[in-house]
């Protein structure tokens, strides 16, 4: 931020340097002489750590233009100097061309020597680490933090440079990698092994191609792809690099590796997860298509949006097949019906073998790592669960039968399932192949006179007749409750759950959707095990444990509140493919080749859907350091997930473009191809599908269009539920904001009627008139909540406020009305906080709760002795009031008289809407400016002015100026100045008025 001086011509002899506070702290133990030299010699090529020379006499505050501007200039200059140096140096082979390096910390040979070696040979040196530019970081040792930060970069030991110079070619950096190997200074063992294995390939051009990445990060040139083709022939004759002794070189394993040509096709044919996700997408499209047809047929005009406005509770149904895979598979094997059955990849033969030799050793099977996709209820009674490894399950239930996947059958049944459901539901969301969420609010009232159970039984019967599979149905007023109800309904039943009974259920945290292992763990660490435990905790406490969003969700869910809507007509947002099994690359080439094939797969799906996108994300799972052979054969094991994305210049579904981008992204990630364990490609930011369809298609698009118009409605994610609302705060809000809020709560109420029945509800209100929330408890002139006056500060308003806090701000708010002459106010009291009671009328006073009255009286009495002669009349009034309250005030009176002298200096630090520290206030201001892009409310500006004045009177002009500067800075970003200039001028003007009185001088802020 620009402090101060407008005058730019600095006297030559006054060298002016600025020290940041942190820098100063560092200097303690440093040689002062050398610092001084550094600082004075502004042409030094070394970056001065302690002093930053600053243009003219501008104070540097982090985050401001001057600082960056300065550093940009500096970097440019350094680059030029490096170039000059390189130019006058003798010509060497440019072996480091395309290497952009940065040297970190102490190195042997020294920093300067290394730099010279590299620059003379075509390298580019970065003084300041720029992670987007740098290709290699040279360091001898790194701190833990640095190591963590830089683990995705090529951090090499200086020996790499020296050895490369000796060899007169750029050696593979892997041997010299610092991170991930023991940093003892010796090439690590693993690297050596790899080196030997590829030893035969080690010829100058190829070594770089195989282990290192091509040094230019700009995709493959024509030359490179020639090598690429050549390579493929060679690689297939080469043994696969098998670092963890996984038996990768066995013939059939080789065929199952990702480097095999047909791998993707074979993988997809066998992956249940792939089928599930594919079908989910397909089903969604299918449902959307059916809905649009239905709509034109039956002329449905109801939409869930409008249905809720009628005032009836939504009725959500969750329809779910009972162990879908098993039931479907059993259609072909009806004789297995009463036996424990599981669906998994385990071989049928193996199982039969076990059946025939029922006494033989089952332990052989117990090592099977095939996962159970689904098991029937007989099997579940043995303790077998979905997702279990087959081996484990066999131990629990030796007689467990396995049936293979029958993807065709599943698909057929699933299609039938949706065909039945779609016409029944008002809204339908295809959750997955075997479950769907239905909004049947309209349907129930129209055709079933409100008896939802009849409808549910009707659906169950119909599905069973047509598919011979049973479904369970959970019913509730929201998605959450319907889902929970389903768990109660299973198997083969119907369950109706309302909020009251939900609150009485003893649910585990895991039972709530969205709460996974991590959340459960972190809550368990704080003694929270069940949903009931969550209910008794407040939101802030939860948020401190598991993050803002999760906590809010949990908080609401624990009370049975779920405001999510069905996503019936949502278009597909992304296309992607991710494979995490069998990924073992021996070289960069193989990895790149695999990406090419995978992106073809993605593009095919996109082409089929006639969509294209512009954001490509590459997801990589990288073997975590220190973990070798994964638990599951050829699985990904324990990994670090990395992802990187890039925007394409135009919408595309061309596989060449996408794979090219992905290969570049992979290069940027700088991952050893041997460590890649999973590869995923995702394309987002999709265009809308071409609407060259039939009339019904257009109808669908119309419907979508209508929906998307609705969407931009204000959504206040951070708002409390109506039951938590402090209505007095609502009353204090300016009219338009209050209306907005009331409308919001009105809509919320009609969507979920949970608040009124929720146990935490603190306000009674008639269910027919939600607006009454706001109206009922409106009190005359309540002083305690004026801090919530500003729309932008909604959050503050709703956070449970202690009476002291709101009191002090209330006082400040009252001030300007009674006394515009700040000078006079100032003469009377140092702290404005103590003026307030005199402006309060008796009625208001009487209406306040006793505790607040006492506190007010105490506050006032504290400040009184100073002002006693001046505000005599009001003072008497207050005395009377204080007396009425008993002797407490009197006691405090005498006590405070002694303290008063000190009190006046150390009186409360002024605060802006409850924020005191510079950081908090700045944050608040920034949010304010960001929110009100088209100019502030006058009263907000007023409040800020008051705050700044209070600071000046509090004898902290420094903070006041800093805050004004920050304010100015916030406003001058993004051309906001037009709307905010008045506010800045006003704040400055008022501050200056005060300064003139106090110091006969004015503050200046550069604009």
């Amino acid at each position: 931020m620009d402090i101060s001086d407008s005058n730019n011509d600095v006297d030559e002899h006054v060298k002016e340097y600025q020290l940041g506070p942190q820098d100063i702290a560092n200097t303690r133990n440093h040689n002062i002489e050398s610092q001084l030299e550094n600082a004075v010699d502004s042409d030094t090529t070394r970056p001065s750590l302690f002093y930053q020379r600053v243009d003219e006499s501008k104070t540097v505050v982090p985050g401001f233009g001057d600082f960056h501007g300065y550093f940009d200039q500096r970097k440019r200059k350094l680059a030029e100097q490096a170039e000059q140096k390189a130019n006058c140096a003798p010509k060497y082979d440019q072996i480091f061309a395309n290497v952009v390096f940065h040297i970190n910390g102490y190195t042997q040979p020294s920093h300067a020597e290394l730099k010279l070696l590299l620059i003379e040979r075509g390298g580019r040196f970065l003084h300041y680490l720029s992670k987007t530019q740098v290709t290699h970081i040279i360091a001898s040792s790194l701190t833990m933090a640095k190591e963590k930060e830089l683990r995705n970069y090529k951090v090499v030991r200086p020996e790499w440079v020296v050895d490369s110079v000796k060899a007169e070619r750029q050696l593979s950096w892997h041997k010299y990698a610092l991170i991930g190997h023991n940093s003892t200074g010796m090439p690590s063992k693993t690297a050596n092994v790899i080196d030997q294995e590829i030893g035969s390939l080690e010829d100058v051009n190829w070594s770089r191609q195989i282990l290192g990445k091509p040094p230019i990060h700009a995709g493959l040139s024509a030359n490179d792809s020639a090598t690429h083709r050549l390579m493929q022939g060679r690689i297939f004759s080469k043994p696969v690099i098998d670092r963890f002794d996984e038996g990768l070189n066995r013939e059939w394993v080789r065929k199952n590796l990702a480097s095999d040509k047909d791998f993707i096709q074979r993988y997809y044919a066998n992956s249940r997860l792939h089928h599930l996700s594919m079908w989910k997408a397909e089903m969604k499209d299918y449902v959307a298509k059916m809905r649009s047809q239905n709509r034109t047929k039956t002329k449905h005009i109801f939409d869930s949006g409008s249905s809720s406005a009628l005032g009836s509770d939504p009725v959500i149904m969750h329809v779910d097949f009972d162990c879908f895979f098993v039931s479907a598979s059993l259609l072909l094997h009806p004789y297995l019906k009463d036996k424990p059955v599981a669906v998994c990849h385990a071989q049928q033969q193996q199982q039969q073998q076990q059946q025939s030799h029922s006494n033989s050793d089952y332990m052989e099977g117990s090592s099977s790592t095939s996962q159970i996709a689904s098991c029937n209820y007989v099997a579940r009674s043995f303790g077998v669960k979905n997702g279990m490894f087959m081996g484990q399950a066999r131990q629990l239930c030796p007689g467990l039968m396995t049936v293979p996947y029958q993807f065709d059958t599943y698909k057929k049944i699933s299609q039938r399932f949706y065909e039945i459901l779609t016409p029944i539901a008002d809204e339908i969301q295809a959750v997955s192949i075997d479950e769907a969420l239905l909004d049947v609010t309209e349907r129930v009232h129209r055709d079933y006179s409100g008896d939802v159970k009849v409808l549910a039984q009707h659906i169950r019967l119909q599905i069973f007749q047509e598919t011979k599979c049973t479904v369970s149905i959970g019913i509730g007023p929201s998605i959450l409750l319907a889902r929970v109800a389903t768990t109660k309904a299973k198997p083969d039943g119907v369950y109706l759950l309302d909020v009251q009974s939900f609150c009485q259920l003893d649910l585990k945290i895991r039972d709530l959707p969205g709460a996974g292992y991590a959340v459960e763990e972190s809550l368990a660490a704080h003694g929270i095990k069940s949903v009931t435990d969550i209910r008794v905790r407040n939101l802030q406490w939860l948020q401190s444990i598991c993050g803002e969003k999760t906590a809010l969700t949990l908080h609401n869910f624990s009370r049975g509140i779920d405001t999510r809507k069905l996503e019936s007509d949502k278009l597909r947002q992304a296309f992607g493919a991710e494979i995490g099994w069998g990924i073992r690359f021996s070289s960069q080439e193989e990895a790149d080749d695999f990406i090419v094939r995978l992106s073809k797969e993605v593009c095919r799906a996109m082409a089929a859907a006639e969509r294209s996108g512009s954001l490509v994300t590459l997801k990589i799972k990288k073997r975590r350091e220190g973990y070798g052979k994964p638990g599951k054969f050829l699985g990904h094991g324990i990994c670090d997930s990395l992802s990187k994305s890039a925007n394409l210049p135009q919408m595309t579904n061309d596989s060449d473009k996408i794979s090219g981008t992905c290969i570049r992204l992979l290069q940027q990630m700088a991952i050893d191809p041997l460590d890649i364990r999973a590869v995923g490609i995702q394309v987002q930011k999709l265009n809308l599908p071409d609407n060259t369809g039939t009339a019904s298609d257009i109808g669908a698009i119309f419907a979508n269009g209508g929906k998307s118009v609705e969407k931009p409605k204000p959504v206040f994610h951070d708002l409390p539920t109506a039951s938590q609302l402090d209505t007095s705060v609502l009353d204090e809000l300016p009219e338009p904001i209050r209306q907005e809020l009331e409308l919001y709560y009105y809509q919320q109420q009609s969507k979920s009627n949970c608040e009124s029945s929720s146990s935490s509800s603190s306000i009674k209100r008639s269910p027919n008139d939600p607006i009454a929330i706001a109206k009922i408890s409106r009190k005359p002139g309540s002083t305690s909540s004026s801090r919530g006056k500003r729309g932008r500060l909604r959050k503050l308003a709703f956070s449970s406020s202690s009476s002291t806090l709101s009191l002090s701000s209330g006082k400040r708010h009252n001030l300007p009305k009674q006394n515009l002459n700040l000078l006079r106010a100032f003469e009377k009291v140092e702290s404005l906080d103590s003026v307030m009671p005199s402006q309060m009328d008796g009625d208001t006073w009487q209406n306040l709760p006793v505790s607040i009255r006492r506190e007010l009286a105490r506050e006032y009495v504290k400040a009184k002795p100073k002002v006693i002669g001046k505000i005599s009349q009001t003072d008497e009034k207050l005395k009377k009031l204080a007396k009425a309250d008993g002797d407490i005030a009197q006691d405090t009176d005498s006590k405070c008289a002694n303290e008063s002298k000190n009190e006046c200096f150390s009186s409360l630090v002024p605060e802006l809407y409850g924020k005191k520290s510079y950081k908090d206030v700045c944050h608040l201001i920034r949010q304010w400016v960001d929110t009100f892009g088209s100019g502030p409310l006058a009263e907000d500006v007023d409040e800020l002015c008051l705050y700044i004045e209070a600071l000046i009177k509090h004898r902290n002009v420094f903070k006041a100026t800093e805050i004004m500067k920050y304010f100015n800075f916030c406003c001058s970003r993004e051309n906001r100045l037009v709307f905010w200039e008045d506010a800045i001028t006003k704040a400055l003007e008022r501050a200056n008025k005060l300064c003139e009185v106090m110091y006969n001088a004015r503050i200046k802020i550069l604009k």
Partner: protein, 215 residues
Amino acid sequence: MLRSSVSGNSNRPVEITKTDAICDFLEVYIHSVLYYRSAYPKTLFEDRSAFGILVKSSRHPELNQYIFDAVSAVKTQLAKDDAACDVMIEIIDGQSQPVESFVLEIFALQGFYESRHDIDFRGALTRISTLEPGPKLSEDSSFQVCFRRRSGDAPTLEKNLWIPRLAQAPFDSKTKQDDFCAERLPAAETRRLVPLGAVDDQELKVQVMALLQRY
């Protein structure tokens, strides 16, 4: 004369009182002002270390003694239970008109000083060096240290009773007798307030600012 208490953390006693700390700062502050505002030739000053940073200190024994006495006088005031006062360093021209002023507002309760406030003091000291240079001072210009008690009210112009320390500053031929700032105040529009720093704590409140001539 900079005492050892401020000359680096190794020598520094673990516990010093707030009053001591403020007076240490005041002393450094005066030296710095004199150096950076070119009240005396730059060659008069030598490098010292205080509050963990490099500062300038006068080498002239008489000048040092004057400053030391002024600081001691402030200290006796601060040592009283009412530890609230303002100190002003005024650079004055030949006609004893103030050219620039540097204000230090002090409020300190009894008790030990916490070294975490060092950073604010350091900040204030370094910011002196970032001020734009003042007008060229005439040969006969000098400086004086003024002092005022504070009742707790914020200062206003009417009550602006600065008491200059009357002992004569070295290199100065003139003696100032009647120094009521309020009577010879320049217009506010021409004076510029540059806050240099502040310590804002419950028990220790210090504000440092410069009042420059040019706006």
